[in-house]
Symmetry: none
Subunit: 196 residues, 4 copies
DNA sequence: AATGAATGAGACTTCATTCAT
DNA sequence: TATGAATGAAGTCTCATTCAT
């Protein structure tokens, strides 16, 4: 029994659905397309996911898991150095932007089925980001390395806006020269949070 | 024959398709839904638009037209005052962000059919924005009110990223408190372009 | 424009569905089968009936209509001669039993989808029969031609049981010798209602 | 190894299938549903029954077995007292009508797969009933307690019709007040067979 | 004997689009 | 121009059944 066979089917479907949806969007990705890409039959697909929307939920949830891990690592350095932690976040965003699928996938989340699981995952993802950034900014204020003329939550909002804009840009461009963007992005973020 | 009757049908369809697609996305908006919203029959729909994608093109082109008008007005002040013109652009972006449909519509453009007309319109829209901003920054450099350490095109890219991020934010929030966002947005843009 | 084309499609579908379902039952009759029998495309089927269950509802409702007409005629003679009216009802039941499709269709109504329209139609059909028979028996009691030791509603129940049993029998036998059954059925019904 | 484990699985499946099919009909009962109700896996299901239709056959055959037992007891008294035996049959029918599952199951047998085993079992069941009743009537004629103006087989047919009608009635009503029905049913049957 | 993952045929339904009126 | 009945390809999902473990 190879590793591929034991439980790998479910993951293969998620992976296939992820890249298909990143390319074509949720609606223009058929379950048949996903099955072909994953090398499974339609029966197997629906054995693991009662509904097409449920694969989307699985994708989002696996994203959440990853986000939580990365954010935990970022938080670990924040109490010492909020500015440094924010730079870690910048690096994380840049990684996402230079991923082959993530920007395309994100750019397609505007058109997604009405489904409680999907809505919940998206909401959680947003909350996670907002919480982390708000926390970092607040710490930065305490450490007197960040602006205090704006509520941490509002600074966080603008950071999110910037990051999402960057993801959208990456989706449009296809592949991104991460090395060119890095210093500019870090600089802009730096300007955004610097004390006035 | 009233204005409504003569050609009004076409516009009604465009308008209906616009708000339907802003809400549900391109694929989840059926032609039947558009027909119902526009108060026309499917026959009439396909009389004006040979395919569903063609309404999308019409929507995008009408957007282009509007963009051109606004941008012409912005340009009119640019030679005197690039900074002021950039603030006009900010105002334009904020207007878009506080529109009922535009943010939703924009957020949904990630999942759109492969269609030459659609691709062309999107490309033109992007070019228009890039050109205007690049031009404004270059003028600002001449007028010594904007940074020269970064190529105008790159500054323009970051402004676009920020604006698109804002639109995405507006789409998520549903309705936006434009008055709260305005000073912050203008300030961030100001920081972005200020001389170093 | 032939008579067949004008509005005939809907009726053709109902008719086709009726005989298919009478033969194979609701679940074993596919919409494709109905379409083929009716000579229409699947698109046309769903143009007229949003759901397979809706054709069933249409069949049942057309049955209701027919029932109402026949019952009206039976009632017309009841005030004069309840016994004669009851014999008309017997004749009606025998007609149904000797129909090519009706017994098969009725025998299949035990396995039918959970659908409000279906449930409503079946309930109404039952109520119609119960009301007519109860009324006839009550009149017969007044006219002193029918038994009074049992409530009209209960006599009606047994008449219904007998009629449904006969329909079931006809369904099993395929085609029924109505002439052999007629006198026996009328006799049994007569015994059932005769004064004690 | 307890009785439950040895062969109990097969009976559990039959029992589960019986009540599922009584409720939903053959086609609307999935093998998965039966497995869940029986507490076995699909593998086990198909280990005992090669096809879904085979469980139905098993149900019908277990019914046949029961019918044979009851009919043997009824026959035991028939040579002495045909009328009394017929009343035993009435009682048997009433028992069936007041069973939780049997009326529903019977009402659903109109829509059943084309399968030789199923057809055979249904045919045998019908023959069993017809034979018993014909025999009882013939004996009753000999004992001069039953009508002779109608062939025993025809009287038997009407008794069957009445009994099946009653079962159908029970299926519609859900649960039956057997005590209210008993005297009426016995009386009607009595009228049906009484000498003229 | 028992399990449950895997299969794929086939069911119902949606929808863009055509065309006769 | 306007209508809406008609079409059929394509999509999602169900389910009986097989088979390796």
């Amino acid at each position: 029994m190879s590793t591929e066979k034991r439980g790998g089917r479910r993951d293969a479907i998620i992976e296939a659905a992820y890249s298909c949806m990143a390319k074509d969007g949720y609606d223009r990705t058929s379950t048949a397309q996903i099955c072909a890409a994953a090398g499974v039959s339609s029966g197997t697909f629906f054995h693991y996911f009662p509904t097409k929307a449920d694969v989307l939920v699985a994708i989002l949830e696996s994203g959440l898991e990853h986000t939580r891990e990365v954010f935990a690592r970022i938080r670990a350095t924040a109490t010492q150095d909020a500015q440094g932690a924010l730079e870690l976040w910048c690096e994380h965003v840049l990684q996402e932007a230079s991923d082959d699928n993530l920007p395309g996938f994100a750019s397609v989340l505007g058109a997604v089925p009405d489904h409680p699981g999907v809505a919940a995952a998206l909401k959680t993802e947003g909350a996670l980001v907002r919480e982390l950034l708000t926390e970092l900014i607040a710490l930065g204020q305490t450490q007197e390395t960040m602006r205090t003329d704006l509520a941490p939550a509002r600074v966080a909002t603008w950071l999110t806006i910037l990051a999402n804009g960057l993801l959208g840009h990456a989706a449009e461009e296809g592949s991104i020269q991460i090395n060119e963007l890095r210093p500019e992005f870090v600089d802009i973020v730096g300007q955004l949070v610097r004390p006035r």
